[in-house]
């Protein structure tokens, strides 16, 4: 065998090994969570640790995009996902709007699926400009995978969507009495029992939305969340909305949404909103497909 042939064989083998190593390395990055179907028949498993939510958690994108999951902006049977209505008349599970709430709803023009969906370039959805969504919008839309980190005084929630983070204080402090509003508001949390972590959030910016269907809120909004760790691998997430300005009574936006524990070396892909890329999308897609240019 000639030296040249041997050298060629060695080079090819080396290239193959390098490719394998690179592939193995790449599998450690940008991990994709299991699909919803993976969890369909899976029971919660393992003993839940006491007073501990640390971990990487995934909702399997179970929330959808038609608004608060317990009150999707859809007609019975899931109809009406392509808009056409000014209000939410006839939806399957109507919300208890006050007159002010109904008026505020009509001012919000959602591009998300639902009975009030508008063409993308006609929306005033904060998401349509890559504006910060704030809380609870971040937890009612694109609530996918989050990294929860528990410290002695904080529960930190890191989301790849918008690169958003929430800090929930667990040091016993009270919510601020008259705060300057913030997108994510001010959150305090405590353990109701060894497996139930409850969070109260106030002080959100009134200009933000509750969800992708354009549900409004005022500066009187209070969001109560429950993270119930029912097993080692499952949290049930519940979110309650209280806002007497916009709604006549409190309502449940998310009810026992399963959050599934992922391996602790799961690398969450980033999902950022780039204003310049969004503008280009609007230029190349959303504007050309506008159905009636006179409305623009």
């Amino acid at each position: 065998m000639s030296k040249r042939l041997v050298a060629s064989i060695v080079a090819v083998m080396a290239a193959g090994i390098s490719a394998s190593l690179l592939h193995a390395q790449d599998e450690k990055w940008n991990n994709i969570p299991p699909t919803r179907a993976t969890y369909r028949d899976k029971k919660p498993d393992g003993v839940a640790p006491r007073r501990n939510l640390t971990g990487i958690w995934d909702t399997a994108q179970a929330l959808g995009t038609s608004g608060a999951p317990e009150h999707p902006a859809l007609l019975p049977g899931g109809r009406g996902s392509q808009g056409g209505q000014e209000d939410e008349a006839g939806i399957a599970k109507p919300l208890p709007y006050t007159p002010a709430g109904l008026a505020a709803l009509k001012k919000n023009k959602p591009s998300g699926p639902g009975v009030r969906q508008v063409d993308s370039v006609l929306t005033n959805d904060p998401a349509g400009k890559c504006d910060p969504l704030g809380f609870p919008y971040m937890f009612s839309w694109e609530f996918r995978t989050i990294n929860m980190v528990q410290t002695p005084k904080q529960m930190i929630m890191l989301s790849p969507f918008y690169g958003n983070y929430r800090v929930i204080w667990t040091d016993g402090r009270k919510p601020p009495a008259d705060p300057d509003p913030r997108y994510n508001g001010y959150s305090v949390g405590r353990w109701d029992d060894d497996y139930t972590f409850v969070v109260e959030t106030t002080g959100m910016l009134a200009k933000t939305w509750l969800d992708h269907a354009g549900r409004p809120h005022s500066d009187k909004l209070v969001v109560d969340e429950t993270f119930h760790r029912i097993s080692l691998d499952t949290i049930e997430y519940t979110q309650k909305i209280t806002d007497p300005v916009m709604y006549t009574e409190p309502w449940i936006a998310t009810n026992k949404l399963p959050m599934h524990l992922l391996p602790d070396d799961f690398d969450i892909p980033e999902l950022l909103c780039s204003p310049s890329e969004f503008a280009e999308y609007n230029n190349q897609v959303a504007t050309p497909v506008l159905r009636d240019s006179s409305k623009k």
Partner: protein, 127 residues
């Protein structure tokens, strides 16, 4: 019919239900129709909020239509098995898409994909 589709085949899928988890801006697209766009990739843009594949396809009269075809965001597309290398300029493709209601050459990539004569099988994804 306002638009000549030429080698672009029109299929009407009335049996398809409107997807509950349609993405933002879906109001502009006709979810009851599927169009197959066959042509040459001119650009592949791995961007948010939607990955774009630009395709030149001729209509019946031989006029080149410059299609802009949108997929979901890069994370969702990665879940389907796409990457930054899935398409490149010059690829001959055939893609089933949901067309715009106003007949502009813009669509949502929502079905079978062929790249250079070979089917590109997408993985299951949540959306």
């Amino acid at each position: 019919m306002a638009r000549k589709l030429g080698i672009v085949t029109l299929m009407v899928g009335f049996a398809f239900a409107v997807p509950l988890f349609a993405h933002h801006g879906a109001a502009s697209f006709d979810s009851g129709k599927t169009v197959t766009v066959k042509g040459t990739v001119t650009e592949y843009v791995w961007s948010n909020p939607h990955v774009l594949v630009k395709v030149d396809a001729k209509d019946d009269a031989g006029t080149v239509q410059h299609w802009v075809l949108e997929a979901w965001n890069p994370v969702t597309q990665a879940g389907r098995g796409w990457s930054k290398n899935t398409f490149k300029a010059g690829d001959e493709v055939s893609m089933d898409i949901t067309p715009a209601k106003n007949n502009q050459p813009v669509g949502e990539i929502r079905g079978r994909i062929e790249i250079n004569g070979k089917e590109f099988k997408q993985q299951n994804a949540n959306f």
